[in-house]
Symmetry: D2
Subunit: 343 residues, 4 copies
């Protein structure tokens, strides 16, 4: 059994890590940290874990000397880069879920996060935590940076066509997200009476995940992000222009070639039925990212669609999948939950 | 035109008062107070009023010398009783929506609000703001205390049978409420991710509105209050025991006798159809309280049901109806909106 | 008082027409038709009208000889064009809410509706029912065709820039709609357990309203339509490329020039606040279409946003506004409801 | 591996059985029947199973000769009793999720189901499928009848006090349920626009599950059932009168004595925190039934609360737990999913 710990474990991503790691047959959670909840039971902020664990939160300082194999970081951006040097001493493998080590270019980081990067020298040592595109590197990676939730959906939806040279020009991404993406401390903007039923364009331009999709696909990306009525769930609609002569069959083939053997990517592009394109409704709790497409043959445009649970495949589940990839276990280990329908 | 003002106008009840008074043909809002938003436009916290008014919030102190006819109080309980003596000097008629002057007995107040009443001498001077049962008194009342949202639904559902002597024993009230009932500052308990989809029994016993229903009906009342997935809306299910020999026909007759000519109470107790008993879904924005019942003939029990929009009939709309009753205008004045379906 | 009737009055648009016309000071509803509900009360399928009207549905045939001034058509497409010749004999003014007379080109109609147009000779006689852009024509129009709900939002969002020559290239429209847009007979796809929480891309390409926006703006339009968790409400995000040298100030000026004096279009493009861009959450029941924009200065792109209540400004309310425009009444007549917040 | 089949597998309970049995380490699903979907893939109506199974539906007749160990019945009531004799020949163990064999008294059945029981001679041979109260019998039972969803919650909430003699008089049950409880064919009453946001008292008296709770607790039960805004989830509030001298401590002790070692019942009755009483929000997908209570000391009344996922613990999960109990496996086998938070 690997000895693992979660830093920043009282938030939503942290809670989801605890849930998944608790059910993982190869890992034992030896510590979960929280500044705010130190000394209290983890099933307080995470009531779904009642009856599953008696673990209590410890302070960040208590991680020292725990002989950790793996440390998961669910700490806020900015704070994470400031403390990364210390974190790296605590465990052989560090899997970071913050935004601080996703962008390769410190200037881009500074532009999108509106603060200079304080540990740029560490950036190159991190491997992107997306097994579908970095599996080989992950097998030996000791520093892993898991992409953002909307970025994961966007990259998985766009990259097959981008890699195959089937699209040209800008990609316009329309991203939709549930309220859990704002975290457990969302303030008055997140009050139920205000957030319920919202279609809130909270980032009409320049959302941070835009830069990640651009970096991973090599395309210019323009993204809008809208908060929709849901707790969990992300969906992206990526409007693209197809290169001359590209047919729907070519598009389908590119997706198949990319994801045929993937354990957690399903191609959903059916002619009929209720769930014929990806949507997060049936993905809550699961580690799937469903991807699909619709081609407008006459005009040479395609809409590429991705959907996932932002706290699982777009966060904690993606991180556990990286853990599995890193240690050579079957990637579905601990991630078998198929999602619920109806839900 | 009457000159009216709203104290505590930045909250949800305050905003609803502004909406209704703005559309009222006999009243002009000359001031709206807010500690927090002083100097800012009222359509900031109340974006539905954009394009309807250019009013800005003033401080409480700015009410002096405004020559007000009517002052509406949407201020918090406890603060309201502390400042009531001052409020009463500002306008000929004061309509209070706080909880401070609803309970006639200061001891009961102290027990339910867990604080002593600081102005008990003023309590007897207030008339209950429920036109259906206090119309004559309201015609000359200068101090009006509007009942709580769940209390309004409960009183309107139970009182016809209580008055007619058709029920005996305790009344068990199961109350359900949307998130707007917690006000605009609900804290982390009100965060969308936590509150969405909730069935939260936040008051399994001793909710304050229980005491109001008991006072108005003369029955012992046991009430539970549950937060449900909705922004607006209150529904109460009141489980009662019928007196010996009371039939469904008697129950219906009692409701008809009580509410036949009421402008804002509809009796909804149909044999078929989708909306055959009261529910708040179709009442948002309207001043109706729908009441209904179901009798279990063989056992002598009845469930009495009430539903309303907590911010309208259970708050601001009820207060405006009192205004109309006080000044002898048709009670529907400014309150004609019929509600939406579907919604 | 004008004598008006509604054909196809048992559906959601029909019910909304009845609600608005019932509250209209210049019109009397003399008949409401329904094949399915003939002889039954209109407040059966429209329970919000309880206590407001005792009207019962009649058959379509019963419209003859009623001496109607205005006939509103909320009948299905295809059926409407087949019966239009007959409808036109029944009233001096016909206001059609079906899709059959919106597209000027019968070939385009045939392509988008997948059926030939059976009354192409009548198309030119209809005036588009969008007062913001056709006010002068509407003042004398006897045949009015109200645009689709998503089309109304899209046209109002895009046309100011299109007319001013500020955009170039294709417009990509991301449209989101609540479940009431599917009508009262939505079948198993509309079952709550399946539709709740959905982000259903039901029309990834070729939605019919796409053709209306293209026709009204002169731009090539690519639209996707997604069903979101809501009953009422439409929001469109229109991704555009700005012409060289166009600044945010130019964009704002174009919107102001177009809508400065409009009673039902509000420009919502604020720097801060919760509701700083248009969203339907606060528009339920109101006739407003809020429009806004976000410019990405460095790249010369803009997202234009429109939001409305699909059953009001995107349907029945738009039709009543046309009625007012046609008969020279203030356009706000009968349409004053400001919407609710929170909701 | 046990050979199991599911009859009536295209509905929501059937789909949930397939999901759980697919992940069960001791069982193989060899057949799933559906009249309507014969020959089609099970992941059509159950899209969450995509990538998990290639199973296709067969007809009921195709169950013959399959050498089944266990047959689960998710067939409609009335149809189930008519065909039970045939079903019993197909497998050594039959686990019935219909309502037909839950009530021991055929007269009670006839009264609540409004149809005579057509196989009353089979009723005594069925064991109630509630391991918490029938574990010993289940270990050898070949015919098991799983209780209704609201009945399961009600029995688990009330029975500890009823068995211990701590309550007297009637029990008033306020039950709330999500839309999935109406099944996959709910008709126009279940259309999203009508059902969304509902607080629909669809059974003010005489709900069938009332009779089950009465039978299992020996108390007279009066139950109302309300449809609330949720897809999954049941919650019951059971208003009881405590016997003289019974304290909160006695109540807690009775719950502890009953459920201390239960794998799927958690006692949730905390003094503080957000989730201090049971609610279904955090139980989706899990097999837990949370139970709790609130005592009004001064008056001798108690509210007993139960919550569960109607498709899992209140249906398919309960049935799988019975399977485990029947075959001597740990009861958590295949049922480990802890539920999601937030959700």
């Amino acid at each position: 059994m690997l000895r693992v710990a979660v830093a920043g474990a009282s938030g939503y991503i942290g809670g989801e890590l605890l849930r998944l790691l608790h059910g993982h047959p190869r890992a034992t959670v030896v510590a979960a940290t929280s500044d705010r909840f130190t000394g209290r039971r983890v099933d307080g902020p995470h009531p779904n874990l009642r009856g599953h664990t008696d673990l209590c939160f410890v302070g960040h300082g208590d991680l020292t000397g725990l002989d950790l194999d793996v440390l998961f970081l669910a700490t806020p951006h900015r704070e994470t880069m400031a403390r990364m040097a210390g974190f790296l001493k605590l465990a052989g493998t560090v899997i970071d879920l913050s935004g601080d080590f996703r962008l390769r270019d410190p200037e881009t980081y500074a532009s999108y996060y509106e603060t200079p990067h304080t540990a740029p020298e560490l950036i190159p040592s991190f491997t992107p935590g997306l097994p579908e595109w970095h599996r080989a590197e992950l097998a030996t990676a000791d520093r892993i940076s898991v992409p953002g939730c909307m970025a994961t959906a966007g990259i998985l939806a766009v990259r097959p066509l981008a890699e195959a040279g089937l699209i040209e020009g800008e990609v316009r991404v329309d991203a939709r997200t549930g309220s859990s993406g704002s975290g457990a401390s969302s303030g008055s903007a997140g009050a139920h009476a205000e957030r319920s039923g919202a279609l809130r364009v909270f980032a009409p331009t320049r959302h941070r995940h835009e830069a990640e999709i651009a970096q991973a696909t090599g395309r210019t990306v323009r993204m809008t992000a809208t908060g929709v009525e849901a707790v969990r769930g992300v969906q992206v609609l990526c409007h693209t222009t197809l290169a001359a002569g590209v047919s729907e069959k070519d598009v389908r083939s590119a997706f198949r070639a990319a994801y045929r053997d993937e354990p957690f990517v399903r191609i959903v592009a059916q002619r009929r039925g209720l769930y014929r394109l990806p949507e997060p409704k049936i993905l809550s709790g699961s580690n799937f990212c469903d991807v699909g497409f619709a081609v407008s043959g006459e005009t040479g445009t395609a809409v590429l669609i991705g959907a996932l649970d932002n706290l699982v495949k777009g966060g904690a589940g993606g991180a556990v999948q990286c853990l599995n990839a890193r240690f050579g276990w079957p990637e579905r280990t601990g991630l078998e939950f198929p999602g619920l329908h109806p839900n």
